[in-house]
Symmetry: C3
Subunit: 147 residues, 3 copies
């Protein structure tokens, strides 16, 4: 690769990881569970303080379905991304809200800020999350127990 | 165009659409109504559930001026953008706040989260919104009626 | 430089300024004060309405340490960036929250929206803030006096 091609690759990788993270947020919030699981590698691992790690597609699928009763709204910003060939690390800020999960009533509330620490892998079908560690600022009470 | 030029064009298109959306937010919130209308094509259409579509520059201008009494703060994030030659589709998350519209008092409050579904056109003076469909999570009561 | 190299440079500059701003937010919020001061040039100036400008690394360092008792959470979005060779101007939206500064209790609250107006300089070690002017929407009461 020429230097220019290398720079182009870096810029594209960053945009693809931003779009992957946006898709993660949107598919969770809209209940598109299969599309959400597809943002992970097969051995992907979600880590939240105070709960056992959730590892692999079947466990992730169970988790996101159990969480549907909460009505999360996931927003992320201030992404810092470092790519090293076929691996990448991302840190980003999160703002979580909640809305009426049944959508019967229109509601929207602040839940918490927090931060994601992510490991990503380049796969044959694009970047995927290998590990997401989420550290919320507020103590999240009354989450459904999914494990 | 070479492959590299095509990739460069894609990267530039994405950044230009992000900047257009930021300008839309800022000009609405700061009451720069002419600059806000200029983010649309001449036949641009704003669609909000429960109201008739607002189509064309004069109608959009009336709408944004009627809304000035609300004191909106528009924030968007998690933009997903697909460009197809001179057209583009964008989905992005929104967080709307309100502030004292007269700016006499310093206030800032959460109003709602939501999502935009956008169609864009490449014009001689850059990307413009052809259609924006906004779906808020909270029911927006007491909006001024602008039609 | 060829035209392509110029476009690549513009795209890279934008991403580097986005990452600098994300680093500014994260290092302030996590109390990494030296890393936060390093996001500024040596003569950097922070301007907030109603307070004297805070100019230069020692004064900035005192300010950020005095503010640690607040427990800020800095989030920015909708960045508009114009680069002119080795200088740049950025406007971006801000959402500030607060969390328990001691982290003993998990809390997270909305504080205010606002806007940054920034001047940046390209230095031998990357882009740095030369001036940040922050205009909050809400009146910020009870800030520690740092000057």
């Amino acid at each position: 690769m020429s230097d220019e091609q290398r720079v182009l690759r870096t810029l594209l990788d960053r945009d693809e990881i931003l779009e992957l993270t946006a898709r993660y947020n949107r598919t969770w919030d809209d209940g598109a569970f299969d599309d959400w699981v597809a943002t992970w590698t097969d051995t992907g691992s979600f880590v939240l303080p105070g709960a056992p790690a959730t590892v692999g597609a079947p466990a992730l699928d169970r988790m996101v379905r159990a969480m549907a009763s909460v009505g999360f709204v996931h927003l992320t910003m201030n992404h810092e991304i470092v790519v090293d060939r076929d691996a990448a690390h991302q840190t980003c800020a999160a703002l979580l809200g909640t809305r009426d999960p049944s959508r019967a009533e229109g509601t929207s509330r602040w839940l918490t800020t927090g931060r994601y620490h992510d490991q990503l892998q380049r796969t044959g079908s694009g970047w995927r999350f290998q590990e997401r560690r989420f550290v919320p600022d507020a103590t999240l009470r009354a989450l459904p127990k999914w494990w």
